[in-house]
Symmetry: C2
Subunit: 519 residues, 2 copies
C-alpha cells in the first residue's frame, strides 16, 4: 500500500533536507510526465527525488524506510514498452538516478569501464570516441539515451559480441534497502586489483540478486568492453517463405554453438521492420486495421524486405579470420535464405556509420524509436517522445528454445493471436545466447483511438498467457505484466520473499514492480 | 559447535530410519578414510550419510536441522589440495552424494546434459562417447573421478572453451537447509521449455547463492556442452627466459579479448610440470630441499621444458577457420616465446588421445594426480590415493589481473616465498576468462617427513597473506584457509550472514566451511 498523506509529507520534508528543495519534485505537471507510458497505466508518482550521488541515494532510501513510503528507482526512465518511468503503485515516489552520470574509470588495456546508472549509451559511446579508444561497449536497440546499467540489470539484450549484457557486468556498488552499501564480487576486499575484472569473487555470488529485483539500488557497475575488430563483416539476409524459418534458425544456432557468431543473431519479421520505413498505410488500406495480407505483401516488396530479415555480425581478428567466418556463414545460410550479402565494416572505430554497421560496433542510435508511431495518423516531428505523444506500445519478451520448431511455433502463435486482436504481429527472434531465443513482440497502436488501450491490453494479456501455456516464460516483464506472470513453484516464491524481507525489511524498494518478487 | 553426543545419537537413529543402516556409516576405519587429507587437518566426521536421491537428501537435512548436527556435503570428495572429503569442524557429518549418479537428460542438438552431483567427469565422458555424441563436456585438470557439478559449484576451472565452469551451468535443483526443494532459473515454471537453456530466469537470479556456499545442496544441474570442432589445433609453447613473461601474458589476453582463443590459456612454470616427469631428484640433490637452481635447470633441460610452458587450444569450425586462428596465434606469440609448434587434433571425437589433445576435447584423465607424490622417497604404485598415501599438497588459488606486470609480480612473489619456505614454487597462471588469471600455487611435500606439515602450513599461510596484501584475493579456498581469508567489508559479511540465517536458520549446512560465509 502507498504511504498515508502524513507519512508522505514527513518523508518529503526529510528528503528536502537531504537533497535540497530543487531535487524533490512535486509539481503536478512534472509528475504527470513521469506517469506517462505507452499504454494505459494511470499510476502517477507522488514525487520525484533526484539524488546527486550514492550517499544521497542512501539517504533517500533510509528516509523512505523510516516513513514507510515506497520508492520506484529509475535511471533514465527509457523502459519503453515496459512502463517507461511509471511506478507500479500509484503514490509511490520515483527515485531518479539521472544525476549519477559519472564515468568513473576506464581501462582500455583490460577493456572495461565503470559507470554510474545515469550514464547513457550515447554518453558512453561519445566518451570512448573522444578517447579514440579501440574498444567499444555493446549498445541496445532501444533509445540511445537509455541507461547502460539499467538495461543490463533488466537483462536487456544488445548488439555486438557481449550481448547477454548482464553476463558482462560486475563489481556492482549497491545501496541496500536499509541504506547500507556493499560492493559485489572481489570489490568487497579493500585494495584488490581484480574487482572490475571478474564476476564471482569468493564465497556465494550475490550479483544475481540485484537484477530484475527491488533488492537494492545499483549505484555503480563495471561494464566489459570489446576490442574493435580488425576485419568486421555485417551480413544481411532475408527469407521470403516463412515455412523455411525452422532450418534457418537451426543453422544460426549451430553457428553460435560453434563459436562462429559471437554477437546476437537477430531475426525480425516484416511487421517488425516496416515501421522503420513509414507509418501505417492508412490510404492504401482505407483505414482498415490490422494490416491486410495483400497490403502487407506490397509494403514488404516495396521496402525490399523478406518475411524474415536478419543480420550476422562477424568479428575478425584478421582479414583471413573475418573471411573464414564469412565463408562459414555463407555455407550455412546461403541455401537457407532468399538473399544474403555482406558489407565490410570500417577499419577505424570513428568511421562506423550508426545506420549500418554502427550498432554492432558500439555506435548507439535512436532509429527504432520511430516505430512507436506506426499507427499514428501522421508522421511524427522531432523530438520524438512516445510517452508524451500517446504512442501505444506494449512489449512481450519471452524465452524460447533456439530451435527451428519452437521458433515456428512462436511465430505462428504471435501471428494468430496478435492479428486476431487487431494489431500487426511484429516479432523479433533474437539469438542473444547459444540456446535461447528472445522472442519480443511489439504491440503497437495509437492511444488516441478510443478503446485501443483496452483492446491492446487484452491482446497483450492473451498472447502472454498463450506463450506461457506453450512453455515460453517471460524473461523480462513490464509493469503491464503484474498479475499475469505464472506464479511458478510456491516454495521458490517463498524463498524469494524471504530474501526480500531480509534485505528490505521495510518493503521500501520497487514494491510490486517485479511480478516474481512480490511483497 | 558440533552436536552433543545425545543429539548425534538421536540423529543417527533417525538417519538410519530414513536411509537404511547400510547407508549410515560410523565404522572408525571408514571415517578415518574420510578425514584423510593432503595436509594436517585431523578433523574426522562423526558419520557418513549416503542418500540415494534428492528426497533422501532432504530427509538427511531435515534430521540434521532437528537435532542440530552440522552436515558437510561432498559429491565425490576429490577436492584435492583443498581438504578432500574432510569437514571443517570435527564431529560434523559427511553428506556423501556419490549415489546420486544419474545422467538425467542429454540433448545433443541443444548441447546440454543434466546430471546429479555424483556423476564424474569420466562417467560423463564415457556416456557421451557411448552415444557417439559430437558434443563434449569441459574437463578439469584434477582427477577424472571428481564430480562435474561440485567442480563447477566450487568455481573450478577446466580445459576447453567453456572453462569458466560456473558460467556454463544452469537449472539447479537445490535442497535447501530446511529440506525444501527449489529449481533455479526458468525451472521454477512448470512445463517450461527453456529450463536447461538459459541461466537467468525471470526476477532475481539465485544461482550464485549456491556456489561456494553452504546455502543449499545442489542435487541436479544442467551442464552446457560444446560441439566437437571441425579443425582443432593444439599449440605448445615454452619460454626460456622468465623476464619475458609480461609481453607473453599481454599477448594472450589480447588473443582472448579478440575472441581468437575461447579456451583457457594455461601457463605452467617448470616446477609445476616437472612432477609429471618423475619424483624429486633425491640422488642428484644429495637429499637437499628445496630444489637447487642448478638441478632445477638440468631437470628442465632434460624434460625439454621452458621456464614457462603453455598450450593454446583452437576450435575451428572449418579448416580455413582453424588455420586463420593458428596464424593469429603464431603472429602474436611467435616472437614472444622460445618454441611454438602446433598439432592438429583428430577429426573424430572417439580418436582424441587423453594425453595430447584429449583434455581440450573433453577426454578426462588422471595424469596430474602423480604430481602429489613429487617429494615422496619412491615412485608410487597404482592405484594412486594421495590422501591415504600421506602426500602433502596445499593449494592456493588467487585472482590476478590478466596482465603482464601482475603476472610477473605474482611469479616473483611465489618464487621468493615458497622457496624461502623450503618448497618448490610450482605455479600455474590460468587464463580462464579474458580479464583474470587464476594463479594456482601447488605446495607439495611429504607428510611423512617430521615437521613438514607445520612448515608447509606456515609457508601456505605466509604466501596467502602476501598475495592478499598485494591485491590478489583468493577465488577459491580450502578448509586450510579458514581464518586466513581477508574479512573484507563488514557490511557485506553481515548481508551474507543474514542471507545464510534466512536460508539455513538451524545453521546446519557446511558450518564454517566457507571463510566468506561464516555463521
Amino acid at each position: 500500500m502507498s504511504a498515508s498523506p502524513p507519512a508522505l509529507a514527513a518523508a518529503l520534508a526529510a528528503w528536502r533536507g537531504a537533497l535540497g528543495d530543487a531535487h524533490v519534485v512535486t509539481e503536478p505537471a512534472a509528475l504527470a510526465a513521469l506517469a506517462a507510458t505507452t499504454f494505459a497505466h494511470d499510476h502517477g508518482p507522488a514525487a520525484r527525488l533526484c539524488p546527486a550521488d550514492r550517499d544521497q541515494v542512501a539517504a533517500c532510501v533510509r528516509i523512505a524506510a523510516d516513513h514507510g513510503v515506497g520508492l520506484h528507482p529509475i535511471s533514465r526512465g527509457r523502459n519503453l514498452g515496459y512502463g517507461s518511468r511509471a511506478p507500479l503503485r500509484p503514490g509511490d515516489v520515483v527515485l531518479d538516478l539521472y544525476r549519477l552520470d559519472r564515468i568513473i574509470d576506464f581501462d582500455e588495456r583490460m577493456a572495461h569501464v565503470t559507470v554510474e546508472p545515469g550514464v547513457t549509451f550515447r554518453q558512453l559511446a561519445d566518451f570512448l570516441r573522444t578517447c579514440r579508444a579501440r574498444v567499444f561497449a555493446g549498445v541496445t536497440g532501444g533509445p540511445a539515451d537509455a541507461s547502460v546499467i539499467a538495461n543490463a540489470l533488466e537483462r536487456g539484450d544488445g548488439s555486438g559480441p557481449l550481448a547477454d549484457r548482464f553476463a558482462h557486468l560486475c563489481n556492482l556498488e549497491v545501496v541496500l534497502p536499509t541504506g547500507e552499501r556493499i560492493e559485489t564480487g572481489f570489490g568487497r576486499f579493500a585494495g584488490t586489483t581484480v574487482a572490475p575484472l571478474g564476476r564471482w569473487g569468493a564465497g556465494p555470488a550475490l550479483d544475481g540478486l540485484f537484477s530484475q529485483s527491488g533488492l537494492g539500488v545499483v549505484t555503480r557497475a563495471t561494464i566489459w568492453l570489446t576490442p574493435y575488430p580488425r576485419h568486421f563483416e555485417l551480413g544481411f539476409f532475408t527469407l521470403d517463405d516463412p515455412a523455411r524459418l525452422p532450418p534457418l534458425v537451426d543453422a544460426l544456432r549451430r553457428l553460435k554453438l560453434a563459436g562462429v557468431i559471437s554477437a546476437t543473431t537477430p531475426l525480425w519479421n516484416d511487421c517488425k521492420v516496416l515501421p522503420l520505413f513509414g507509418g501505417y498505410p492508412w490510404a492504401a488500406t482505407g483505414g482498415v486495421t490490422p494490416l491486410p495480407p495483400a497490403v502487407r505483401a506490397e509494403l514488404r516488396a516495396r521496402a525490399g524486405l523478406g518475411w524474415w530479415n536478419g543480420t550476422v555480425s562477424l568479428y575478425g581478428a584478421s582479414t583471413r579470420h573475418g573471411l573464414a567466418l564469412r565463408e562459414l556463414v555463407t555455407d550455412a545460410l546461403g541455401e537457407r535464405v532468399s538473399h544474403l550479402r555482406f558489407e565490410r565494416g570500417p577499419d577505424e572505430p570513428l568511421d562506423a556509420d550508426p545506420a549500418r554497421c554502427g550498432p554492432a560496433l558500439g555506435v548507439p542510435h535512436d532509429q527504432n524509436v520511430v516505430t512507436a508511431y506506426w499507427r499514428k495518423p501522421a508522421p511524427p516531428t522531432p523530438p520524438l517522445d512516445p510517452d508524451a505523444d500517446r504512442c501505444g506500445m506494449l512489449w512481450l519478451s519471452h524465452a524460447v528454445p533456439f530451435a527451428g520448431d519452437h521458433a515456428a511455433a512462436v511465430a505462428d502463435l504471435v501471428e494468430d493471436e496478435v492479428t486476431a486482436g487487431g494489431f500487426e504481429p511484429a516479432l523479433a527472434l533474437l539469438g542473444v545466447t547459444e540456446r535461447v531465443l528472445y522472442a519480443v513482440v511489439s504491440l503497437t497502436y495509437d492511444r488516441d483511438v478510443a478503446g485501443e488501450d483496452a483492446r491492446a491490453a487484452a491482446c497483450h494479456d492473451r498472447t502472454f498467457a498463450r506463450l506461457v501455456e506453450r512453455g515460453y516464460p517471460p524473461f523480462r516483464t513490464g509493469v503491464q505484466s503484474q498479475g499475469l506472470a505464472p506464479a511458478g513453484d510456491p516454495t521458490y516464491q517463498r524463498i524469494v520473499d524471504a530474501l526480500a524481507t531480509t534485505l528490505d525489511p521495510a518493503g521500501v524498494l520497487a514494491p510490486g514492480r517485479y511480478p516474481f518478487s512480490p511483497r
